[in-house]
Symmetry: C2
């Protein structure tokens, strides 16, 4: 009964059948042991486990997925891993998924062109995932353009509400309002804005909330300076603003651009916050060490990542759909880059 079969193939590892033959039981019993079912006698279980160890057995996930129709795998489509927020979000997603026993398949999108996006989606559509998280940053991906297979659970992390999939995001507008209001509360007449790129929904949300807050307070609304999230563009914007008379308060669309502006102001001999107050957005890990330490809006990327997985798993495992938009609140972190204007108007 306990005869040893020779390894069948050099390239493939031992299967349940091999273990079964080695232990002198049926494959089904091996399967039961592998899955921790209780209806196996203690002695048998141990014999099987010993055989598994001896043969170096490891379960074949493909066969299991084929049999079960489930992969315990979630696809993540992301544009640019090299942004602070995305990487924090990805971290949170990966950890949350791992805790639920799911693995993450990462599909990078190199260029934000429609064709690249389609290619990325095509990869995932190869049905090796139970669900998909799409982290969008740009308008590029339109509902019409993206054809995801019907029935595949999807969650979108983005700032634009959509009617086809649940969306989750930081409350961009609340954050921008917080930032702008903070500067107004300090006594500034109005607030200038270094905006993110036009292609970004979150950039336009922040810009819109900044504008709304100023209008609501009855203040003059200066033209926004357009950046692209990079420190270089923030630096350019800072240089521009330093030539404008009467600028006392700047709300930058993210911390990187704020840092660039800070550098421009240093170079021009403008004191922050003495001459100009600066507020960022994101609260990246380094923000408290900028000079001066940056007042900014804290975004809770962990919450966004975690919630996205929760919503996705609810649909995958229990068929529950979460319609509409879920929003994670932000909070203002006051450090040393903001102060009352020197000559209160």
């Amino acid at each position: 009964m306990t005869e040893v079969l020779p390894a069948r193939s050099a390239s493939r590892g031992p299967s349940m059948g091999d273990v079964a033959a080695h232990a002198g039981v049926s494959t089904q019993t091996v399967s039961r042991v592998a899955n921790g079912l209780q209806n196996v006698e203690q002695g048998t279980r141990e014999r099987v486990l010993a055989s598994m160890r001896t043969l170096g057995y490891r379960p074949n996930k493909a066969a299991r997925a084929l049999r079960l129709g489930r992969f315990r795998n979630i696809g993540v489509i992301m544009f640019t891993l090299s942004s602070f927020g995305n990487m924090r979000t990805l971290d949170a997603i990966a950890v949350a998924a791992a805790r639920a026993g799911y693995s993450i398949t990462l599909v990078p999108v190199e260029h934000t062109t429609q064709s690249d996006v389609s290619v990325a989606l095509a990869r995932l559509i190869e049905q090796a995932v139970d669900g998909v998280v799409i982290v969008i940053e740009a308008h590029i991906v339109d509902k019409a353009d993206v054809e995801l297979p019907p029935g595949l659970p999807v969650v979108v992390i983005d700032s634009a509400e959509r009617d086809d999939y649940p969306v989750i995001d930081t409350d961009q507008m609340q954050g921008a309002r917080l930032a702008t209001q903070h500067l107004l509360d300090l006594g500034h007449d109005t607030v200038w804005h270094v905006a993110g790129p036009e292609t970004s929904y979150s950039a336009s949300r922040r810009e819109q909330a900044w504008r709304d807050t100023l209008v609501q307070a009855g203040r003059q609304v200066p033209d926004a300076v357009r950046g692209d999230w990079s420190t270089a563009s923030g630096y350019a914007a800072g240089l521009d603003l330093s030539r404008v008379a009467g600028v006392t308060a700047v709300f930058a669309g993210n911390d990187q651009m704020a840092l660039g502006a800070l550098r421009a102001f240093h170079e021009r001999g403008i004191d922050v916050p003495g001459d100009i107050s600066v507020v960022g957005f994101d609260d990246m890990a380094e923000a408290d060490s900028f000079w001066p330490p940056l007042t900014t809006i804290h975004q809770d990327f962990d919450v966004v990542g975690r919630r996205s997985i929760e919503i996705l798993l609810a649909e995958i495992e229990r068929g529950e759909t979460t319609p509409g938009m879920v929003v994670a609140p932000t909070r203002l972190v006051v450090r040393s880059s903001t102060a009352a204007p020197r000559h209160v108007g």
Copy 2:
């Protein structure tokens, strides 16, 4: 012939069999069309493609993997996604893998404990990957402790050479030498060092090269100040150093700690680079916007990520092994945080 079968199951998508029935051909022909083989008549091909579209067919990756014994999937084990370098490396890995037609399964390790590492490995060992890239940062993972299945191709990204797997990494020692020598060349008597955590191989490499360079130049070697990569620890180190008399040059183990030190020096009214010169390591995207813009060592994470995939795929696809350690060179980027000491000794 072209009769339409009802969908068999609500939960599973259409299979090749369904497409075949719909198009009035055999499953094998559908398979040939799906794989782009040439020996299919034009008319047949179009009919099959039309059926695939109509039915919303997508290939089942699990079945394919089971059949072929290949997954076209690479596992990536990473400790902390929240470090600048790791993220850049991951980005490069993901892009390189995608170009080669492989997907990436990301396995995060929450805590750097042995048990957590084992769990992460166990996940991958579930044989859904053709190879594994391990990005290590700490000594924790010892050869003996980690039991990877034999025959599974592995590449390690780390600073410690090992005899079991190919290793690839930035040339830490060359970089640290570059940094230290740069400061000596400017005329500083010696160079202080803010080191990374003891658990990190790369930290000890950098520290060792810093020490060697000073010794070779016949300089006095001050005690290294220990940090943990964070800006907070760099700030604490900066505060410490600001109380030591005679400090004119500091080499920080990474840019974050350099930034923290910069902040400490600002607070204490110490001018950089007038009183003290500072060099970092990594060349993170923001380093050119620190105040002052940071002189640092540029690490080529893209190269490391790309090469690791090249090496891994060479082994997976062609059985070629790359023994020993592959090292990516660094380069010095001089900005404004370094200068000659005020009173040249």
